[in-house]
Amino acid sequence: MKTEITTESNQMVAKFTGRLDTAAAITTAEDIKPLLNAANTEIVLDCSDLEYISSSGLRIFLTIRKEAAAKGSKVIVKNINADIRQVFVMTGFISLFEIV
């Protein structure tokens, strides 16, 4: 599971690659810490290469969302596949995020 964060002028993009299961979530929680400090930024969570997500991964997404709301940032979830969409639907996350 790989997390890559790139920063542009007004944007932070976090690209996830692989399976975000309970075991991988431990590392990923550390990796996304920069996003939690971003204020007034657009945070893009690029899920193009994300194969799988479990509840631990969802928790991380939620944490990012909560912090962004507190800091005036916006969170966009990008390119989730059908499996992950199904999980978002099951958990109601589908309405928590702007999904592109």
């Binding site: 299961d21 939620l62 909560k66 928590l96």
Partner: protein, 692 residues
């Protein structure tokens, strides 16, 4: 000819001897015939020459005699005409002597008292040096001489016997008498001529027919006119003779045998010597070639013996290889096949394996070199493997002992590349040690080379520390071992088969191949590549397949059979990916795979978190699948924890209001059709069911 081949094997060969004898006989007979023919022709030649010369000599003598007779008759004629002049008798005789060659004296002798003035005797004589002598007297009473008497009575020339004249000429003379007649026809006297026989010397130019031949002339009474030299006793002579009609002499030509045959004898000797030498050469050649043939036969025999012994050696070597391959009735977890194709009758490659105590001990090796020396070292290596592997469980230790033992007896500096492995059949753990051998191929999804340390081969350095390695292989994996006879197989263009081709052929194996089919596929590929070229090295291959456990076998559910599976997990979040793999292997319909995986992950994670918060334990997950549904039973022996008791999560809340936790069990409830919890025998038992 006798030739000794072995101590109790003597061969008599008489045919060679007969060849020599017959050749000698033929040669000698030919030479003899030639000799005698030559001899005869030489003799004939000699005879011809002698006779020819004799005739010429006779002719010469004849001529001389005739000349003398003519002279004497002329003298007689003249005398008869001048009888009344007694003085003219002297001049007539002188005339005769002057005119006639070889005449040394001439005389006219008249009968008693013919000239009364001269008295009783009258013999007018003229010699070469004495002239006009009347020599008739008391002392020289010629009336008694034979020549007078015969001359008077015989009416032709009468030749007397040669005699030595010691009164006058001091040489051998012969005289010729002729009667004188008066006018009435009465015989009144004799005309006489003395002829020197010196002229006979002239004949020697004719009569010396050979350089060392002699001649003699004898009168009819045996008086020697030309004496023959004394013959040497013991020598042989050929004598040719001719009688001269005119005076009864005999001319002999005496030729020593040597003169005639000397050349022939010399040549004959030379030929005989050459013949003998030739025969000796023949004998020598025959003897030498017979010995050569014996040597060849012996070598051939030895070759055949060696060949048949090599065949036996090969059979012994092949018998050292394992004859049966698993699976056995008491070991169904392995499928093995091995083969060695030797380049010569005997080779230096080996492989071996045996199962003991639920472990597979196996090895593959390659002795440096080929042929009988390599095969001997191979046999030693194999027995060391068998003996030492029974005593130790560590591959490195076994090889260290093998190495020390073999380095000590290694005068020929032969070494063995070697791979030794011990596979725990239950767990799939492979302990191995590679001593300089080709890295084996591990085939799970794709063929890759097994990681091997660069230990030295066996037999190079006594006391070397070999290091072993461990890897765990999975059921369904194959281990493929080979020697460099495979990768270094050459075709006629001197190209090598190489690792690439080997990997390619391995990746083309069908999944249904058993070990034998796998090995055969490689063998065919190599055979095609090598084609008509001569194999340069032994080709050895060993394939070990670690078969899936029959009781755990999972197949797709197309036939609707009931399939059971299980997995045991430790209390470790890091095992979650293993869980995912196990779910993958259950053959669940593809579209449900992710959600069932997710549900199980959430359930198991909760068990790990809540049932074993701070202790080690295991979680057992059993699955039972039929064509309608799949059921998972998750059991643990942790503290009592009932996930179904957890309250529902409100997923309609806004992000700010959502609780961080609780999603896990929510997902399980969402995904699974049935969730049941039971606490039984101190165990939490959670049953999840998903209908298809």
């Amino acid at each position: 000819m006798k030739l000794k081949v072995k101590n109790n094997d003597i061969i008599h060969d008489k045919s060679g001897l007969w060849i020599i004898i017959i050749a000698a006989v033929i040669l000698e007979a030919t030479a003899c015939i030639q000799y005698f023919y030559n001899r005869a022709s030489l003799r004939n030649e000699a005879e011809r020459r002698a006779i020819a010369e004799l005739r010429r000599a006779e002719l010469e003598i004849d001529v001389v005699c005739k000349q003398v007779e003519m002279s004497v008759q002329t003298m007689a004629l003249l005398a008869e005409r001048n009888l009344q002049y007694p003085d003219s008798m002297f001049s007539i005789t002188c005339l005769m002597v002057e005119r006639t060659p070889d005449m040394v004296g001439a005389a006219i002798a008249l009968k008693e008292n013919y000239y009364p003035q001269y008295g009783k005797w009258f013999e007018a004589y003229c010699g070469l040096h004495t002239k006009n002598l009347q020599i008739g007297s008391q002392t020289h009473d010629y009336f008694q001489s034979e020549w007078f008497h015969n001359g008077m009575t015989i009416d032709s020339c009468w030749w007397c016997e040669p005699y030595y004249d010691n009164a006058g000429a001091m040489e051998t003379l012969v005289s010729c008498s002729y009667p004188l007649h008066n006018s009435e026809g009465e015989v009144i006297g004799v005309a006489l001529a003395d002829i020197s026989l010196n002229y006979l010397e002239r004949l020697s130019q004719y009569l010396r027919v050979y350089p060392n031949s002699y001649f003699s002339i004898t009168s009819s009474n045996g008086t020697e006119l030309v004496p023959a030299p004394d013959t040497i006793p013991g020598m042989k002579y050929h004598i040719f003779e001719e009688d001269i009609d005119v005076n009864g002499w005999t001319i002999r030509i005496i030729i020593p045998d040597n003169e005639i045959y000397g050349e022939l004898k010399r040549i004959g000797l030379l030929v005989t010597i050459m013949m003998i030498l030739g025969l000796l050469l023949l004998v020598f050649i025959m003897y030498a070639s017979a010995r050569n043939i014996m040597k060849l036969l012996e070598a051939n025999k030895q070759n055949q013996t060696i060949e048949s012994e090599l065949n036996i050696a090969r059979n012994i070597q092949m018998a050292m290889l394992p004859k049966t391959f698993p699976p056995y009735h008491d070991c169904l977890d392995l499928n093995i096949y091995g083969t060695i194709i030797p380049a010569k009758e005997v080779g230096g490659d080996l492989y071996d394996f045996y199962i003991s105590d639920n472990k597979l001990y196996f090895c593959i090796g390659d002795v440096s070199g080929k042929g009988v020396p390599a095969s001997l070292v191979m046999a030693v290596t194999r027995s060391l493997f068998r003996t030492l592997s029974a005593q130790s469980k560590d591959p490195a230790q076994i090889i260290i002992q093998m190495n020390n033992a073999m380095s000590e007896m290694n005068e020929q500096n032969m070494f063995v590349t070697f791979f030794l492995g011990i596979l725990d059949i239950e767990t799939g753990e492979l302990n191995y040690c590679n001593a300089g051998h080709n890295a084996p191929i591990l085939i799970s999804d794709t063929p890759t080379a097994l990681p091997v340390l660069p230990n030295l081969p066996i037999g190079i350095l006594s006391g070397y520390t070999f290091i072993s390695q461990t890897i765990t292989i999975q059921r369904g994996n194959t281990l493929f071992f080979y020697t460099d006879g495979l990768t270094e197989a050459e075709n006629i263009n001197k190209e090598l088969y190489g690792e690439e081709r080997m990997f390619k052929t391995i990746s083309e194996w069908s999944d249904t191949f058993n070990a034998k089919e796998q090995v055969n596929a490689i063998q065919q590929s190599v055979a095609q590549f090598v084609d008509i070229a001569e194999p340069s090295d032994d080709l050895t291959m060993l394939s070990i397949r670690y078969l899936p456990d029959k009781s755990e076998q999972t197949t797709s559910n197309k036939t609707g059979q009931i399939v059971k599976s299980q997995i045991v997990m430790r209390n470790d979040i890091q095992q979650i990916p293993t869980l995912a793999e196990w779910v993958e292997s259950l053959g669940i319909p593809q579209m449900l795979n992710m959600t069932i995986n997710l549900a199980l992950e959430e359930a198991v994670t909760n068990v790990m978190l809540y049932a074993y918060p701070d202790s080690n334990g295991t979680v057992l997950i059993e699955s039972l699948k039929d064509k309608n549904q799949i059921t998972f039973v998750i059991s643990d022996s942790g503290i009592p924890f009932d996930p179904t008791k957890k309250g529902e999560v409100d997923i309609t809340l806004a992000a700010e209001d959502r609780a961080i936790g609780g999603l896990g069990i929510h997902l399980v409830r969402q995904i699974m059709d049935k969730i049941e919890y039971e606490r039984k025998d101190d165990k939490n038992i959670l049953t999840l069911t998903k209908l298809f």
